[in-house]
Symmetry: C2
Subunit: 187 residues, 2 copies
């Protein structure tokens, strides 16, 4: 069961989100756009906010599923940016709307995942205490989250993205440094 109708509702919503802010989008707009009965919308989703939450959750899960390993810093940032990149205008609308926190929740989940996966990759055989591990993951998570949020602030400017990528990259040495310091302090 592939549930094409649900996907059609979702696609119409994202499509409309690329055309106008979320505050101006109604359930009626969506079902009329994809030619689905209004009741069918309520069959799948409780209301509009829940549709959006559902979308970002599914996207977060998909991205995490499709990136089982995070091998490089590029992988890391790319995974975190994937949804944003594929829905430029929609993301900006969400970001500037009252539901901004939902997007942040989603981004936060992805950042947590990629930060953990990346730190574990850099660690390799080395072991840290649970506390140190959490500290470093939290650090990287906040950095990547901040990078992406900062990028959104600039209106997703491509040049700004490159600058942020560079900042992100520079953190690589930082990460090694942090791990070293943790190991030395504990020994």
């Amino acid at each position: 069961m592939a549930n094409f109708t649900k996907k059609a509702i979702r696609d119409s919503f994202v499509k409309l989100l690329n055309e106008k802010p979320i505050s101006q989008i109604t359930v009626k707009d969506i079902v009329e756009d994809c030619g689905v009965n209004r009741n069918t919308f309520y069959y799948y989703y409780q209301d509009l906010p829940q549709l959006m939450e559902n979308i970002v959750n599914e996207d977060a899960e998909r991205i995490i599923r499709e990136h089982p390993t995070i091998d490089s810093l590029d992988d890391c940032l790319n995974a975190a940016l994937e949804f944003a990149l594929s829905n430029r205008k929609a993301v900006l609308h969400i970001y500037h709307s009252v539901n901004r926190d939902i997007y942040e929740q989603y981004q936060w989940r992805v950042c947590t995942y990629v930060a953990t996966a990346y730190v574990d990759g850099v660690l390799g055989d080395r072991k840290l205490t649970a506390e140190d591990h959490t500290t470093i993951v939290d650090y990287l998570k906040c950095v990547s989250f901040g990078v992406i949020m900062g990028w959104l602030e600039t209106g997703m400017n491509p040049a700004a993205l490159d600058r942020f990528r560079r900042i992100f990259e520079l953190k690589h040495g930082d990460l090694e440094h942090l791990i070293d310091r943790c190991e030395k302090m504990r020994s």
Copy 2:
């Protein structure tokens, strides 16, 4: 009811048609590609040939519907070529397969429509007898059909298409000439 499942089956078929010849495509391939139960395929289509016939028929109807008026020679050829252009490889597979006649039937329908619409446009206020009208439409229909079939013969070469467009364009003067001759002969 937008019937997204039917569309998914159709899309998967066209997708597979772009990957391999129709003789190597099974119903199983299609339903597995789009994640639909095999029975659902048979719910919508009798068999594989009927699916293809259905696709070309719907395409022909859609093209005719979306081109209510044929204002220029460009419109005319574009309408007739639309399906072929959007599914290059698929059309070539069909064209070279045993079901070639189905594609020809489809193309024939579209050519008949655009030829009629275009002749009527050129005619404007002028009137012809039913016989003359049919004669001229048939003439243009055969020309445009021949152009497209010839284009397919070359493997849909872009340069060949331009050449064919030119030939088609040259027929414009021809058409005026034909109408003039009909009018003079009847008067």
